[in-house]
Point group: C4
Chain length 231, copies 4
Amino acid sequence: MLLEELRAEVCEANLELQRKGIVILTWGNVSAIDRASGLVVIKPSGVAYDDLTPDKMVVVDLDNKVVEGTLNPSTDTATHTVLYKAFGSIGGVAHTHSMNAVAWAQARRPIPCFGTTHADHCFGAVPCTPPLSEDQVTSAYEAETGHQIVREMGNGDPLARPMMLVAGHGPFTWGKSAKDAVVNAVVLEEVARMASATLALDPRAPALEDYVLSYHYQRKHGPGAWYGQKA
Amino acid sequence: MLLEELRAEVCEANLELQRKGIVILTWGNVSAIDRASGLVVIKPSGVAYDDLTPDKMVVVDLDNKVVEGTLNPSTDTATHTVLYKAFGSIGGVAHTHSMNAVAWAQARRPIPCFGTTHADHCFGAVPCTPPLSEDQVTSAYEAETGHQIVREMGNGDPLARPMMLVAGHGPFTWGKSAKDAVVNAVVLEEVARMASATLALDPRAPALEDYVLSYHYQRKHGPGAWYGQKA
Amino acid sequence: MLLEELRAEVCEANLELQRKGIVILTWGNVSAIDRASGLVVIKPSGVAYDDLTPDKMVVVDLDNKVVEGTLNPSTDTATHTVLYKAFGSIGGVAHTHSMNAVAWAQARRPIPCFGTTHADHCFGAVPCTPPLSEDQVTSAYEAETGHQIVREMGNGDPLARPMMLVAGHGPFTWGKSAKDAVVNAVVLEEVARMASATLALDPRAPALEDYVLSYHYQRKHGPGAWYGQKA
Amino acid sequence: MLLEELRAEVCEANLELQRKGIVILTWGNVSAIDRASGLVVIKPSGVAYDDLTPDKMVVVDLDNKVVEGTLNPSTDTATHTVLYKAFGSIGGVAHTHSMNAVAWAQARRPIPCFGTTHADHCFGAVPCTPPLSEDQVTSAYEAETGHQIVREMGNGDPLARPMMLVAGHGPFTWGKSAKDAVVNAVVLEEVARMASATLALDPRAPALEDYVLSYHYQRKHGPGAWYGQKA
C-alpha cells in the first residue's frame, strides 16, 4: 500500500478534528502531500469519522486522479490540490465547517487581529475571499475555490497566515503537516469565537498594535523564536 | 411484537437525540412509519431517554389510536401523523426543543440560507409557520400544528427542505427514515446557531448566491450527486 | 441518624446540579423539608460536590438551628427556610449561579415567556425581585432574600411558577421535592439561554399567546394533564 | 530534586486548567513560589498538558534564571516573577487565554461587578491594564507586562482582587497557592461570560450595590467570614 505512514497521519488528523469538537457529522476533511512523489492522501467522501481507518484514505495525484483506493475522495479534493500546487511550503490542508469561523465567512468579513492569542498563530487578520462568480461555480467550483484562496493570499507567506475564510462557505487552514493544519483549524475556530465576543463588547474594538503582533509572532515563529523546546 | 426492526430503529434514533446533545430532560421525540401497514412507531410520552428500550415504543395508526403498547404515546403524536399523511415520501419525523432552533422559532423568523453548510442540507431558507389561532389551539392543537407545517410547505418537496420551525414553539424535521430525521435535527440546530452568530457580526448579512445554493445542494442530493460513496 | 432517606435524596439532588452542568466549584445548594417534623436537610457550606455524601448533609429546623450534623449548613440556609415557611406546598429548594439565569438576574429583568418550552414548566414570565435595600442586607441578608422572593410571588401559586430571579444575584427554584427543584433549575437555565438568544434575533420578540401558554401548561400540569404516564 | 511537593502542586494546577476547560492546546501556565528560598516552580514552555509530569516542571529564581530543569520555562516566566516580587502575599500565579476573559481584554474594558457571583471572589471590578508602549514591548515585554499589572493594582490588596486583564492579551490571576490561582482563573472566565451575557440583555446594566458587594465579599473572605467549614 502506498504511503502507509502518511495514510496513518492523515487518518489521525481527520479523527483529531472530531476529538477537538470542530466538526460534526462528516463536515470536514484533512489531507497531506508527499512532495517527493507529488501524491496527496485525503479523507474519503462522506465517511463517518468513527469508521475511518488508514487504509480507507484515498491517494490522488495533483490532477485529482485516484491513484490508490476504492472509495471516492472528498468532494473538496480539487481545492486541496490547487493549494498544494500554489503553496510549495505546505504539507497539509484542513477544511471544516466549525461554527465561529463559518459565521465570519458567512458575514464575509476578515477576522481582525484583536489580541496576542491570534498573533501567536497568524501574522495579521485572517483574510476572507470575495464570493465566487456564477461562472466560477458552474465551471469548476472546487478548483476555483482553491484559486480564490491563492489570489487572496497574493504574495503573502502561506505559513505566516495559515488560514483563510471563503465567503459564504467556511475556513481552510494549512501547515507543514496534516497535524499542523488541524492545529490551525482549532486555533482559527477559537480566535473567531474570541473575535465575535470582543465585537459584542465593543463594535469598534481596536486591532492589536503592530509592534505587539510582531513581537508575539516572532517569539513563536521567527528566526530567533524561543517559545517551546529545542527539537 | 409488531414491527420489531422499526421499534429498534426508533428507539435508537431517540437515544441519538440525547447523544448529540440536542435534547435535555424529555424534550424531544422521534417516530418512523411503516408505509406497508400504515403504522407509526413513536416514543412514549415523558419517559427519560436513559429508560428507553425498543419494547417501550408505542405503535399507533394514522388516526393516532394505539395499536400496540401499554404506555401513552408522545403528546405530539397527532403532529407526526399529519406529516406522514401529507408527505408521502418521508419515513421518519423528529421534534426537539434544541436551543438555537427554538430561538429562531421564538423570534418567529425563517432562517436564511447564509452559506454552504445550510445549502448542503436544505434547499433554501428554513421556513417558520405563522402562529396558530386560538381556535386551532383549543380545537385540536397537535394536529393543527401539523397542518400549519403542511400549509407552510405548500407545493415544496418535503425532502428538499426537511425542516421547519413552528412559531413560538420549535423545530420539526423529517427524512427518509427516523435516522435521517435526527440527522436533520442536528443539522438544523447547528445551522441555526451559525445563522445567529452570522447576524451578530452583520445584521444585514447577505443570503448565499442562488447558484452556489443550487450547486451545493445538487452535489449532495441531486440526480447526479457525487458526494459520499455509492450505496 | 435523622431522615436517612431525605439525606440521600438531598445529596443526590446536589450531585445532579453538577452532572447537569449548572454549577461549577461550590456555586449551588439544594435542600428538602420533612413537613411532618418541620426539619430541613441541606448541603453543607463550601464542600466540593465530589466530596458530598448523605451523612455530610446538615439537618436544621425552620429557625435555622442545626439539629444534626458537624458541618456548617449552606450560608443560604435562611433563604431556604423562609421559602419553606411561606410556600406550604413545596418540598425542595435549589439555588445556583447558572450562567444564563444569572445574566437575567444581573440585568434585573424578568424572563418573558417566549415559547412552549418555557410554558411547559412555568406559567408565565419568570419574575425578578427588586434589589434589596441596604437595611435589608445589613440586618438579615439571607432571610431578607427569602422575603423578597415571597413578596414578589404575592398571591401566585409557587408550584405554577417554581422559579424566580433575585436581582443582582441569581436564581432560586423549588418543587414538590429536591429532585423537582433541580429539574426546575435545569429548565430555568435553558429557558434563560433560549430567551437571550431570542432577543438577540429580535429585541422586540413577542411573548407567547396566552392561549398557547395555557394549553401547554395545562397539558402537562393541569387537572386533566395527559403528558407522561399514569403514576 | 528541589521542591518536590511544590513541583507536584504546580503540575497538578496546570493539569487542572485543562480539566476545567479554560485552556486549549498549550495556552496557559501556572507557577508557585517557595517564599523561603525565593524559588519559583513553573510549567515548561510549549509542552502539551497530557505530557506534563512533576519532574518536567522548571525551577527558576526571581531573576528568571533556571536553577533546575532541562526544559525551557514558560515564555511568560518574567511576568510571573515580577508579580511575586511585587505582591508579597501571593503564592501562585496563573495565566490563560480563556475565551471570555480574553474578549474583555481585547475590548480593553474592566469587568464591572454585576452580581454576587463576582462579589464572592473579587472585591470590585476586574481591572484592565492600558496597552504597553512600543518601548515596553521591544525592551522587556514579559517583565513589562508584569509591571503594567503591578501599576494597575496600585495600593490595592492583590488577594482582594486576585485577577486582572492585560489589554489586547488576556487574564492573569493569582492566589495564596497555585491551586487558588487556578480557581480564580476559573472564576474569572465564568464571571466574564456572565458579564458579557448581562450586557447583551442590557448595555446599561447597573453595577452591584456597594453594600451587597461588601456583604458578599466579607461573608466569604472577611475577618468574620462564615462561608465554608473551619479549617
